[in-house]
């Protein structure tokens, strides 16, 4: 891919799929660090763009790059900020304020519930929430479609339980 093609591909992707990057950043970075992770996701995507081959869907490629980057970010963050994790994690399950619009409130609660899931389950839940097919989820995560179905069932139950507890607290 030449530099012009590289820049054009990146520009098209960001204009079309930036919402994916924001949602991943919000799901993996604790409160106050979403913008940092979003920036890192953009950088990772820019570096990875020349490795894109047409046989894959752009969205699948972007999910792969962004989830891998977010997971690395999260691991490195734990490596360097382990002493502050407890403090930050108290900030993650901040429950949505009652004056928020209902839709917004639900999404905020969902982000808080996602943050409570283990990293592997969070990726799966995130892809499902974005309406990605089992086949594409399997391709992004590197597991079988059958495994996606069974795991997703379990993850959705955990998510529902977490949301119910949060609702009760409010």
């Amino acid at each position: 891919m030449n530099p012009t093609g590289h820049n054009q591909t990146f520009l098209d992707w960001v204009l079309t799929y930036d919402a994916i990057l924001w949602k991943i950043a919000r799901s993996y970075a604790p409160y106050g660090e979403h913008t940092d992770l979003h920036q890192d996701l953009l950088i990772a995507l820019w570096h990875a763009a020349p490795l894109y081959r047409d046989h894959a869907k752009p969205s699948t490629f972007i999910y792969r790059v962004a989830l891998n980057c977010a997971l690395n970010w999260s691991r490195n963050r734990a490596r360097y900020h382990r002493r502050y994790v407890e403090l930050d994690e108290t900030a993650i399950p901040v429950v949505a304020a009652p004056e928020m619009q209902e839709q917004e409130r639900r999404v905020e609660l969902l982000y808080a519930a996602l943050a409570a899931l283990p990293e592997a389950d969070r990726s799966l839940a995130l892809l499902h929430l974005d309406g990605i097919s089992y086949r594409d989820i399997a391709e992004v995560l590197g597991i079988t479609e059958n495994h996606v179905g069974v795991k997703l069932n379990r993850v959705r139950k955990r998510l529902a339980e977490q949301l119910r507890r949060m609702e009760e607290k409010q």
């Binding site: 930036d18 990875a48 792969r64 382990r82 969902l110 495994h147 529902a160």
Partner: protein, 199 residues
């Protein structure tokens, strides 16, 4: 409230896209930074190779090595070779990391696990390398002292500096191994196992 209502709220909410101008600024910055890194790496590699070539040329053709300088010449060549190898490995690691970022999440985690395991093994090798360099350093100092090119006081100061550098480096690597790499490896192992866990 059931989970479907949350899922539908999620799908109906889309964060606002970035402005075209902001993306262009970011691309320019990234391109500049990539060019800068490439230039710095090229300069480092060129300097190390040129210094190696120059040393070999001077020692072989301009001023043949006498017994008193053999250990010093060997030591210099060793350090320069290590510098070139480290630069090459760093470049390779960057390329591997880039490729791993485009793999599936499971494959990428497995690659990261292998990379961290490799880093831990390298630290072990580093300790052996330091142990191998110490007798060479001692021989180097002894040769310089016996040929009258180094006083006892200078040799003692040099020895002290070497001990401080080696001990400091060992402490840094020990800390990195136990407090950074080992927990990271454990986390990656848990993640990979969670991905492998068959239904």
């Amino acid at each position: 409230m059931n989970i479907e209502q949350y899922e539908s709220a999620w799908r109906s909410t889309t964060p606002p896209p970035m402005h075209r101008e902001d993306i262009s600024v970011l691309m320019q910055k990234l391109a500049r930074s990539a060019r800068g890194k490439h230039i710095v790496m090229s300069i480092c590699a060129f300097n190390a190779i040129a210094a190696m070539a120059l040393t070999v040329y001077v020692l072989l053709f301009r001023r043949p090595v006498d017994g008193a300088e053999l250990a010093s010449a060997l030591l210099l060549q060793t350090f320069l070779t290590v510098a070139v190898v480290v630069l090459r490995r760093r470049q390779q690691k960057r390329r591997d990391a880039l490729r791993a970022a485009t793999l599936s999440v499971r494959d990428s985690a497995e690659a990261a696990f292998a990379s961290v395991t490799g880093e831990m093994r390298d630290i072990g090798l580093l300790f052996w390398a330091a142990a191998a360099v110490l007798p060479m350093l001692a021989l180097c100092v002894w040769q310089l002292m016996s040929s009258g090119k180094m006083t006892t006081k200078a040799a003692l100061s040099f020895g002290l500096v070497c001990v401080v550098i080696i001990a400091g480096n060992a402490a840094i690597q020990w800390r990195r191994y136990h407090h950074s790499l080992a927990p990271q490896r454990e986390r990656l192992e848990t993640f990979v196992n969670a991905m492998k866990e068959e239904a």
